[in-house]
């Protein structure tokens, strides 16, 4: 069966030391925020310490927090989120680290700890422009050859910036600025908290 979350949460401060910024347990998952400067020792400890033994890196993804909770949000914009799995203790952990500089987000690469990070970090670099120092081959992965921009950033339009078509006059495929405009059919709405979960709303 799955290892207890309380045991995991209790073991984390000793393993992570002063790299640990915050620990939260919510919805059956433990999340830790780790200082960007001490990411590598913290991750190595999580993998090697007998109390945690996270032997698998399940996922790495970039997150752009610039639009979270509206424009009044302060704090760093980009985060790199890691999902770890321990097949020994059978538990999971989410590690989040914020890139300190919004204009030039840099995070250390964990490819030396888990080789699985290779493509995940390339993807995150491609889509969010987060630079992973120490990655041996940080090329774009998913977007087109010669693509400009980082498409998953919140300020990148959903329809993109260029479109491609065949030009009969020039007899070749050309790129041009997009001619379509994105439309929003259902607006984005934030309601009061626990709108769906509150049983008081159930019977009206």
């Amino acid at each position: 069966m799955q290892g207890s979350l309380a045991t995991l949460a209790a073991a984390l401060p000793a393993v992570l030391g002063d790299a640990l910024v915050a620990t939260t347990t919510a919805l059956g998952e433990v999340t830790v925020v780790v200082r960007a400067g001490s990411l590598l020792p913290a991750m190595t400890a999580l993998r090697d310490d007998d109390a945690t033994r996270f032997d698998q890196l399940i996922d790495v993804c970039g997150v752009d927090y610039s639009a979270y909770n509206g424009p009044q949000r302060d704090g760093p914009r980009y985060a790199s989120v890691y999902h770890l799995l321990s097949t020994v203790h059978n538990w999971r952990l989410r590690v989040r680290t914020f890139a300190p500089d919004d204009d030039f987000p840099v995070v250390d690469s964990v490819i030396g700890i888990w080789p699985a990070a290779n493509w995940f970090e390339r993807e995150s670099f491609d889509l969010y422009g987060i630079l992973y120092t120490g990655h041996p081959d940080l090329r774009r992965l998913l977007t087109d050859y010669g693509f400009v921009g980082h498409p998953f950033r919140k300020d990148f339009p959903i329809s993109g910036t260029v479109e491609m078509r065949f030009d009969p006059e020039q007899g070749r495929v050309i790129y041009q600025p997009v001619t379509i405009e994105p439309r929003e059919i259902t607006p984005r709405i934030v309601r009061e908290n626990a709108y769906a979960a509150d049983p008081g709303f159930e019977k009206g």
């Binding site: 919510a26 998952e29 059978n90 998913l142 087109d144 709405i189 309601r191 769906a196």
Partner: protein, 417 residues
């Protein structure tokens, strides 16, 4: 003395063994692979970004189009993530239906894999047999959702509707005489469950047929034994999951280790490999089909005896019944709000993972309380497996790359997303 240079060749993206749009740049020393550099992204549709602009429920059909040979498993992980954020209970009957269709999907995926893999490395017959059986599975999908492949059947809070009482039948046509028609419809007389039950009885025999064709086949073994060997330590470090991990001898299966839905009530075994080569992964997947068949059978037996609701009665998440909506003002408002505005998911983040046929499929959802996700990250298993192609194919012959691509069971819908 002649100058010796390494060859660099381009494999794909339009190559029948590339399983879609894989472009592979191979650096060769004679016929031996020095380096394999997969170029992916030719099918990139930015599903994760699109999901940010759609309401939570509008993204369900996008999930089908990720790994388009194991559709319902993708929906499952997505719905589970939403349910976890909402703290929602799924009715027991819906849990059984989901478990059953997850396993039907697993058989479907493995049949596709087996057929395509054997076709890639020289066997035509298996492909034809596998696709014959897949047709029955598509009929199950169609009976329950109306679509052969892209079902959009799982919904947050349950499944779209209950299993149908009648199985659709073939109709007369000038190419079919009466005897053929009667024969084709012989197992479609009853309900969908009768049809599935009939399939589970026939299926072990079919798997025996595939094994007769392949398991002791000399050519098959020459092409797969000792090819693409991954040690257990490397498999863990490279992030392998599913049959790729079990083929290397690690007994790790989310259905058993972190059970979701009703897998903890099911009787099934988890096959593992010994050598970690293509042949062992083949054996693991074939045995998984037999085990999935067992699970489907158990679900059918339970579902026959236990009627009940298949979707939550929380109308903030699931639409009210059509008749109630027509006669009751409050239900009408719920219906209207749900279809114009959508579900409101409380702020927070959740990661939900299922054991998809290819490995661990995870959905990481961040919500800021709106009717649309703030961020969705889809963790797909074959993405990770393909990233290890370089390591797996180094030192092998160029023909073995095809076997290794086949054994990874890659599908471009889910790699490029």
């Amino acid at each position: 003395m002649a100058e010796i240079r390494n060859y660099t060749i381009n494999f794909g993206p339009q190559h029948p063994a590339a399983h879609g749009v894989l472009r592979l740049v191979l650096e060769l020393d004679g016929e031996v692979i020095e380096r394999a550099d997969p170029h992916v992204g030719l099918l990139h549709r930015a599903t994760e970004k699109l999901a940010e602009t759609r309401t939570w429920i509008q993204s369900v059909p996008y999930m089908d189009r990720l790994d388009y040979v194991s559709m319902m498993c993708n929906e499952h992980a997505y719905c589970m993530a939403i349910e976890r954020l909402l703290g929602l209970e799924v009715p027991l009957r819906a849990q059984y239906i989901r478990t059953m269709f997850d396993e039907i999907t697993r058989i479907m995926n493995h049949l596709m894999w087996l057929g395509a893999h054997s076709l890639d490395i020289g066997g035509m017959t298996t492909f034809l047999y596998c696709f014959r059986e897949r047709e029955d599975l598509f009929d199950m999908y169609e009976a329950v959702s109306g679509a052969r492949m892209h079902a959009a059947y799982y919904r947050p809070g349950g499944v779209y509707r209950d299993l149908p009482e009648r199985m659709p039948q073939y109709r007369a046509q000038h190419t079919r005489n009466e005897a053929t028609l009667r024969d084709m419809n012989s197992n479609r007389e009853g309900s969908l469950l009768d049809f599935i039950d009939d399939f589970t009885r026939r299926f072990p025999g079919y798997v025996d047929d595939y094994e007769t064709l392949l398991t002791d086949n000399r050519i098959w073994k020459q092409r797969t034994v000792g090819i693409g060997v991954v040690t257990p330590e490397r498999a863990l470090a490279l992030g392998f999951t599913g049959p790729m991990l079990r083929g290397s001898g690690i007994a790790w299966d989310l259905r058993r280790k972190q059970p979701y839905e009703v897998y903890d009530k099911m009787q099934f075994d988890i096959p593992i490999g010994v050598n970690g080569d293509c042949y062992d992964r083949y054996l693991v997947r074939v045995e998984e089909m037999r085990q999935s068949n067992r699970i489907v059978k158990q679900c059918v037996d339970w579902l026959r005896q236990n009627p009940g609701p298949v979707i939550t009665d929380n109308h903030k998440v699931a639409p009210p019944h059509r008749e109630a909506m027509k006669s009751n003002m409050e239900e009408l408002i719920h219906h209207f709000k749900l279809f114009t505005e959508g579900i409101h998911v409380p702020p927070g983040e959740a990661y939900a993972a299922v054991e998809q046929p290819k490995g661990e499929f995870g959905v990481y959802a961040i919500s800021d309380g709106a009717n649309k996700p703030y961020r969705i990250k889809l963790r797909t298993p074959d993405y990770v497996h393909l990233s290890a192609l370089d390591e797996m194919s180094r030192g092998h012959m160029i023909a073995d790359v095809v076997a290794i691509i086949g054994t990874q069971d890659i599908v471009f819908g889910s790699i490029d997303r």
